[in-house]
């Protein structure tokens, strides 16, 4: 009896040790900071960002000198300052207006993949506007499907009627 208990306890300890080792290994691999991650967070060239905005430096200066002017005001006075600049407002850290899942318009996600596409857009972007577009796509494909179904059904019925006569 004593031997059985001892054997069982030894086996339990062995399993416990093995599982701890496995857990420690998996923890280390998933949470370790790699050299690539360190470089991605500290070795970034900021000049790339400043260069991207070189084209709006004239607008920067103009707005600094003319406080309170609106897009419409500038459009009437010096519209060249607004080349490539949208008239819509943006808020900090908001999703960019062209944010898409895998570069595919949300409407097509809904249109092609139905409710699954709608769910993908909702979960990935968490953007109500984009989700709405996916919903419209979903509705559009459903409407087209119903219309096609009715058309095919009507055509089949007509054909059947012709045979009757």
């Amino acid at each position: 009896m004593k031997q059985t208990i001892l054997k069982s306890f030894s086996l339990f300890l062995a399993v416990l040790m093995f599982s701890f080792q496995t857990f420690a290994f998996s923890t280390k691999t998933s949470t370790a900071i790699t050299e690539n991650e360190i470089q991605s967070v500290i070795g970034f060239d900021e000049s790339e960002i400043y260069t991207a905005f070189a084209e709006v430096s004239d607008l920067d200066q103009y707005l600094a000198q003319n406080e309170g002017v609106t897009y419409t005001d500038i459009d009437q006075e010096n519209s060249t300052l607004l080349n490539g600049i949208s008239s819509s407002t943006t808020l900090p850290f908001s999703a960019s207006s062209d944010e898409l899942v895998l570069g595919i318009p949300s409407f097509f996600w809904g249109c092609v993949f139905g409710w699954v596409g709608l769910l993908v857009v909702y979960l990935v972007l968490e953007n109500k506007e984009q989700t709405k577009k996916a919903l419209y796509g979903c509705i559009a494909s459903t409407v087209v499907g119903v219309v096609l179904y009715v058309a095919v059904f009507a055509a089949a019925a007509t054909t059947t009627t012709a045979y009757t006569y």
Binding site: T27, S30, T31, A32, I33, E37, I38, S40, V41, I42, F44, E46, E48, I49, Y50, A52, F53, E55, V56, L59, L63, E67, G68, V69, T70, Y71, T72, G84, I85, S86, S87, S88, T89, T90, L91, P92, F93, S94, S96, S97, D98, E99, L100, L102, G103, L123, V124, E126, K128, E129
Partner: protein
């Protein structure tokens, strides 16, 4: 002697803590510039106000047009000429905004300490502290891990990954100013990655005012139903 030193230290810590906790309100000029993936730009200028007790971010926009945006709970209200034009849902609640982090002095960890993310590794390189924040294990959670670097308790940069470890966004926090016991980055640079293309964002703060007295209604914009 040692007792005296401990006594003074205790009061210094208490004083610094109380000083930073007393910052509750923030007002600043804000400029937001976005370069979209198709090389078009969005340019927004205005004034932002936030009171951490009221928990509403209020943007009084002057460019491109005069508008007011109010972020309250999970909704963003848009007003033109004092009329509600639209409202839309937003996943970012005001208490998770950078303004709340700044006033709470939580900016060094990007506010992740109070989120469902967990700090799972810390490394030190030169004078930088790099922390890896692991995403919660939730099936539908859209993001992966977040790597944060800080220097002298000032947040320097943030890298947000997807679930496969691919970088989705990089943000750099710079040009800090120290006002009323709180650290405020006056410039934030961001790059968002979409497969092979990128969009850029620059956010700048100017004329920062902490704990503005009076003007209570400016910080508590009453939102109304459409």
């Amino acid at each position: 002697m040692a007792k005296k030193f401990l006594f003074i230290s205790f009061f210094c810590i208490l004083f610094i803590g109380a000083y930073s906790q007393s910052s509750y309100r923030l007002k600043a000029d804000i400029t937001i510039k976005i370069r979209n993936r198709d090389s078009t730009f969005q340019y927004t200028k205005g004034v932002v106000r936030y009171d951490r007790n009221i928990k509403k971010v209020i943007y009084s926009i002057s460019f491109p047009q005069k508008e007011i945006y109010v972020s309250a709970d999970t909704t963003i209200f848009k007003y033109q000429n004092e009329k509600l034009i639209s409202k839309q849902g937003s996943p970012l609640k005001p208490e998770f905004s950078i303004f709340h982090f700044m006033l709470n002095n939580d900016i060094s960890d990007f506010g992740l300490r109070n989120s469902s993310y967990k700090a799972t590794n810390v490394e030190k390189t030169d004078d930088m502290i790099i922390t890896k924040w692991t995403a919660p294990i939730t099936p539908n959670f859209p993001l992966g891990n977040i790597i944060v670097s800080s220097k002298n308790k000032r947040l320097q940069s943030v890298v947000i990954q997807d679930k496969k470890g691919v970088i989705l966004s990089r943000q750099i926090f710079k040009k800090y100013t120290f006002i009323n016991g709180i650290e405020i980055p006056t410039e934030i640079l961001a790059v968002n990655y979409f497969g092979g293309s990128k969009s850029y964002q620059i956010i700048q703060f100017d004329k920062i005012l902490v704990n503005e007295t009076g003007h209570d209604s400016d910080y508590n914009f009453v939102t109304e139903k459409k």
